[in-house]
Amino acid sequence: MRGTQVNRQSAERPPRGEMTAELRPARRLRAAGKGLAGTVPRGVLLAGALLTGGLLTGGLLGAQSHPAWAADSSRSHAGVESTVVGTGTPTAHRSLADLRIEWPDREQLMRVLLLQDYNTRVVLAGTVVLGAAAGFVGVFMLLRRRALLGDVVSHASLPGIAVAFVLMEAGAPGNGKWLPGLLAGAAIAGMLGVLCTKLILRYSRIKEDAAMAIVLSIFFGFGVALLTTIQNMPTGNSAGLNHFIFGKAASMVAQDVYLIGTAALLLGLIVSATAKELRILSFDERFAATQGYPVFGLDTLLMALVTGVTVIGLQSVGLLLVVAMLIVPAAAARFWTNNLSRMTYLAAAIGALSGALGVVASALFPRLAAGAVIVLTGAVLFAASMMVGTRRGLLVRWLNHYRLQHRVGKQHVLRACFELLEHRFERDANLSRDLTEHLVTEDDLLPLRWWTRRRLRRLLARAERDDLLVGVRDGSYRLTRHGADAARKVVRNHRLWEIYLIEHADIAPSRVDRDADDIEHLLGIEVVRELEQLLAEQHPQFPVPPSPHKIEPTTS
């Protein structure tokens, strides 16, 4: 039981004061962590720097405690919670109905934000590294559309944990909770879950979603059954195993960060080494196969990476939520960029940031579970990205839609004006053909299209602002020189497209872009010439190619 004693010592170490020896490496770690969360121009380098920092710190910290993970449950769960992430408030006496949020006072705030608590630093390092690795791997999982398979991996890992515990307990009583062993068990079981899904898909006609649901619930059920059995076993050393379900970031010690950091570094290196191959696999699996890439092998590699992230996230975030660490940062990053490598770096940054913010928040509010807060922080970042993301955020899309409406409205006004005048020319050959000389009134335009007077007024006002029309007197307008040119161009393109649809509809109606200014670019100059000729043959007398169908004001 030597391990127990040493661990207890490390756990009961006061959070500050006598820790000057460890402060220096911890600062370095903090700086590196901030670097990753903030800037991130050279993702891999920074992540590497961070991980190296984490490893150094972990190594230095770890040298002072026993290499084994918590062998004694009393350490992490009673002791650490109150002294470590918790801010000293005991949680046991609160009733369920007590939903008050206890706001941290100034001193607590400063202590957390300045990372003065040794254990906050440890937990922070662990989750930041985890978040970065999860974002990195998650991008490819998302693009390969394997998001739910991540859920299979995490749920399936539970029986692995239980079995690993039993085996280790049987081999060396008291050492059943050696973390690397438990995580190895989780990894094996997780991959086994994926394998079972693939086998069901291969040898039955069950669809993919059903196969995944079957596998994940059966494995999870099996895991829960094993855990409850273990808890009734005489060894009585199993308390805390169920923390893997919901996660317990507070139970992380330096040794764990060391392990997580190494694993995350490895995962990150594998991803960046095979980024090219994962990209072709995710984009075009069949083409990858014709190029001689082992599609099954690459898929297995991807699932191994996912399993790796899941396993190192089990402790802090828990198996129910770890899949969110994989998907949410990747999905959020997609709103900001159309570039895959930028997306991976961004996802890593978002993952690291949500890890860091989550830990800080749960340190300030000890009643919130760190794992959940991390995921919720990620959700906030996701929602923000969805709103204001520069590439495909909702705001950008709304803006584009608004611009489109604006442009279409403008074109409608111009075409209506032009067609109105054209109609007048047709009736009276003596009229001047200068478009800018004639008045158009609101009442003239109203029956030409399906618009309300209110909308027409708004469009006219806007056209006036854009210097396409000038208001002569109330409700009367005249096209400006600029407006007349624009109207001619709009009508010409519109009619050419119409002719194209009539002539070439059998080839590619779906490619018609009525809005395109560069019709020549889309169709090729020869086609446009041919269309123009067709128009000219039909109506040689007008300054622009007229509409192929007869234009009449739709008078009611």
């Binding site: 693009l143 080494a273 095979t274 090219k276 191959e277 990209r279 072709i280 995710s282 984009f283 075009d284 069949r286 083409f287 196969a289 014709t290 190029q291 001689g292 890439y293 997609r334 960029t337 159309n338 570039n339 895959l340 997306m343 070439h504 080839i507 590619a508 779906s510 490619r511 872009d513 889309l522 169709l523 090729g524 086609v527």
Partner: protein
């Protein structure tokens, strides 16, 4: 080589003497999905340096033929040789243009990235993409008239432009035999002309190209050879010899409406009564 159903036994005998160096030779290939055969006993040698159209009604197994050659679907029987060797040893000599709908065009890459994928194998595992390959990819994009769109995200390209990017990726492979799955499907007129130009350019460089094709009206203009397919190989040979109304009827069976529509456009190569 002209085959008609009545001559099938004779064709079987001929199978023993396939030219060893044909760009593509298929021997007695049968492909089945879930025990239901889609292609029966296909026996075919592609002529070197020609443009070949693979023609047949929907569900005739045109795409399956290409997929089976590329090992994308398992073969129930038969053998495929590319320039006399198994496909797995000749991957580098076969360029592939999949159907445009087969991928997610929302993927976060630009046109140049897609073209570069055609050279990943040459670049090699774990290696970075160097400037040399970027230039080669730009060259391929230029050949399909898409150099201006290299940095454009692929979802912002029109269908025809996407198809040209796929074509550029195949060109970047620098293969000797090209297999294209409906490159003309849903493209605009300009792209159709551009693709035809590229196909002719490939032919002039001595490459062999097999194209799954739908538009019967353009077969005579675009292709030297045709393969008429409907679960089995009806007939194959030079276009002006085998692309006849009679053979089309055998291929398309009772779908007369379609045939009548096409019929008057192809009086040029009418044969039979």
């Amino acid at each position: 080589m002209i085959q008609s159903p009545s001559e099938v036994p004779a064709a079987r005998d001929a199978a023993a003497e396939h030219p060893a160096s044909a760009p593509l030779s298929i021997h007695d290939m049968t492909v089945a999905y879930h025990r239901k055969p889609v292609l029966w006993d296909i026996d075919y040698d592609a002529p070197a340096g020609k443009l070949v159209a693979i023609i047949g009604p929907n569900g005739a197994g045109k795409s399956t033929l290409i997929n089976a050659v590329l090992n994308l679907v398992p073969k129930a029987s038969g053998e495929v040789r590319i320039f006399g060797k198994p496909y797995t040893r000749q991957r580098g000599r076969v360029g592939y243009v999949p159907q445009r709908e087969s991928v997610d065009w929302d993927f976060p890459v630009n046109a140049l990235d897609v073209v570069l994928m055609g050279m990943y194998r040459r670049i090699g595992w774990f290696r970075r993409i160097t400037r040399r390959y970027r230039l080669l990819a730009m060259e391929a994009l230029d050949r399909v008239g898409m150099a201006d769109y290299a940095k454009r995200q692929i979802s912002q390209l029109s269908g025809g432009q996407q198809q040209r990017v796929f074509l550029a990726r195949a060109l970047a492979q620098d293969a000797d035999l090209y297999l294209m799955d409906e490159p003309f499907a849903g493209v605009d007129a300009a792209t159709e002309r551009a693709i035809v130009e590229i196909l002719r350019d490939l032919r002039s460089r001595g490459k062999t190209t097999l194209v799954v094709h739908h538009d019967l009206q353009t077969v005579n203009d675009y292709f030297d050879h045709v393969v008429l397919l409907n679960m089995r190989l009806i007939v194959s040979g030079p276009t002006d010899e085998v692309f006849t109304r009679e053979n089309l009827r055998k291929t398309y069976g009772g779908k007369l409406a379609l045939l009548d529509q096409v019929g008057h456009k192809m009086t040029l190569h009418e044969s039979g009564p």
